[in-house]
């Protein structure tokens, strides 16, 4: 049962986040990678490439928004939980407080969503200003929210199971980075060899990329929506179990 306690966990993360934003270094590190991709691929390569008859920048912007929201919601949650658990030990104050494991999870996940959405904001602004065929549709908003939710939940899972801080980057390099490149961020998934395709369609980011580019909820969008909801549900339940069974 999620109770009032999520608010305390969330507010703590937001107070810390506010300080990080003011330091500016955080803003640059959160936005640097998608901006590099945007300039290199979108503005560099994009002039000479068309995908499905539309300009490349309009194709790339939703993909980069999905990628950077994934990266930031996942990495910041996984990394901060890992540090709070193993190094700073302030995760103990949550475990010892009279709040439910789901409340701890909900607070961390909501904070991760805010960080993920914040990081993708700059890309969206660029899209609105420069990409001729980019529109913020209803599926776009749903995809972004679900994407940040499920990857923040996955971040909680990683943050809870890692035994050292270095493990966090290992998971990120093997899980998150390949997903960023092969799940339809930079090119349509239908161009990938058939043998790899079934694997690509198992990845949640693939379905975020499908949903985020839809103008409306057609059949394909609904299938991807359903898959994302299933992933979000599974990750949330697993995260909650891990917090419930926490023992130092």
């Amino acid at each position: 049962m999620i109770q009032y306690g999520w608010y305390a966990v969330f507010i703590r993360q937001m107070l810390l986040f506010r300080r990080k934003i003011l330091k500016m270094g955080y803003v640059f590190s959160a936005m640097m990678m998608p901006v590099v991709y945007l300039i290199a691929f979108g503005f560099g390569l994009g002039g000479s490439v068309k995908i499905h008859g539309t300009d490349y920048l309009s194709f790339l912007v939703p993909g980069l928004a999905a990628m950077s929201s994934m990266n930031n919601s996942y990495n910041w949650v996984a990394s901060s939980l890992n540090l709070n658990r193993l190094y700073f030990k302030n995760f103990q104050t949550f475990v010892q407080a009279p709040i439910s494991p789901s409340s701890i999870l909900a607070g961390e996940v909501l904070a991760g969503m805010v960080k993920g959405l914040f990081a993708s904001m700059f890309i969206i602004i660029v899209g609105v200003c420069f990409a001729a065929n980019f529109h913020i549709s209803f599926p776009f908003i749903v995809a972004l929210l679900l994407n940040t939710f499920l990857f923040a939940s996955l971040g909680v899972i990683t943050g809870m199971i890692t035994k050292t801080h270095e493990d966090t980057s290992t998971y990120s390099n093997f899980l998150i980075m390949p997903m960023a490149f092969f799940s339809g961020t930079f090119f349509p998934v239908d161009q990938i060899p058939v043998l790899l395709k079934w694997f690509i369609y198992l990845l949640p980011l693939t379905h975020t990329n499908i949903l985020i580019r839809k103008a409306s909820f057609d059949q394909g969008a609904l299938v991807s929506l359903l898959i994302l909801i299933i992933y979000a549900f599974i990750f949330f339940i697993c995260g909650s179990r891990l917090i419930k069974n926490y023992s130092e």
Binding site: Q92, T93, Q96, S247
Partner: protein, 291 residues
């Protein structure tokens, strides 16, 4: 130290350890420890580093599950009903686990929300004044000294007015003068009828604060009683003298007369007689020093 009035009536045990065992891999941290703590009692766990004190506290505060045995607080088993005991406990951990990138006020604010402290807007300034940190309320904790952080941890743990307060090495790393200030603050809390459990490897701390002391070594409880009982069990007087090769030797005696006659045997040079302390109890039981 005078006896205080318990918040709850009766002599019912507030905490019970029932043969608790905990291992980490091949290391047996706690090996079947049992004890009872009464409501309103100030109970100390004394022993060197690695004795299993912190692991015991972690099992009572829902951070670690015992391999076997039960930790019971107010009649509830911590491992199977943590939701029943969490509203009752406050913890000052051994590691300063404050949010260093938040201010003192923000740290207490978050803790108040976690513990649903009503009227925290008035209670936080009061709590900060009690530990003399009110003037620093809007400063980041990262700039605080070790002593200030320990005081803030104590203020934080007391905010929800817990019935059971766990203090894991409360004055670790503090210089003697600040340590005494910390003891005064701890003494004030016991007069409010709380049950207090203190782990320490400082002899003076255990003697100054605790009604009863459990002595731990290598995961086992090797002695249990009031400081006076423990000292009486080994002898109240210690004769110290310089032995062969200049080594400091000591003999513990039960009566003053026995101590004087022992002192005379060593020709009176470099000989002294003093009252025994808990360190002597530990040495007598284990042949080792605590620190």
């Amino acid at each position: 130290m005078g006896r205080h009035k318990s918040r709850s009536s009766g002599e019912k045990n507030m905490l019970v350890a029932e043969r608790i065992i905990k291992s980490y891999g091949s290391v047996k941290a706690v090996k079947g420890v049992s004890f009872n703590i009464k409501r309103g009692e100030v109970f100390g766990l004394l022993g060197p580093n690695g004795a299993g004190k912190t692991t015991t506290i972690k099992m009572f505060t829902a951070l670690t599950k015992p391999d076997s045995g039960r930790c019971i607080i107010n009649g509830h088993d911590v491992a199977s009903a943590p939701e029943m005991i969490k509203p009752l406990i406050g913890v000052v951990p051994q590691v300063n686990n404050l949010d260093k990138d938040l201010t003192a006020y923000e740290n207490l604010h978050i803790y108040s929300l976690l513990h649903k402290v009503s009227g925290f807007k008035n209670k936080i300034p009061e709590a900060l004044k009690k530990v003399e940190l009110y003037d620093r309320r809007n400063h980041l904790v990262s700039g605080f000294s070790g002593g200030m952080q320990r005081r803030l941890l104590l203020a934080r743990a007391l905010l929800p007015e817990p019935e059971v307060l766990f203090l894991d090495e409360p004055s670790i790393g503090l210089d003697p003068q600040i340590r005494r200030g910390m003891w005064d603050t701890i003494r004030k809390t016991r007069y409010q009828g709380r049950t207090v459990i203190i782990t320490t490897h400082y002899i003076e701390e255990a003697e100054a604060l605790c009604d009863r002391v459990g002595v731990m070594r290598k995961g086992e409880l090797i002695a249990l009683g009031t400081p006076a009982e423990l000292k009486a069990s080994v002898g109240e007087y210690v004769v110290e003298y310089t032995g062969a090769e200049g080594r400091l030797m000591q003999e513990i005696k039960c009566t003053k007369d026995e101590a004087y006659s022992e002192a005379k045997k060593h020709n009176g040079i470099g000989v002294s007689i003093r009252r025994s302390n808990l360190e002597d109890v530990f040495i007598k039981l284990t042949g080792e020093r605590i620190e």
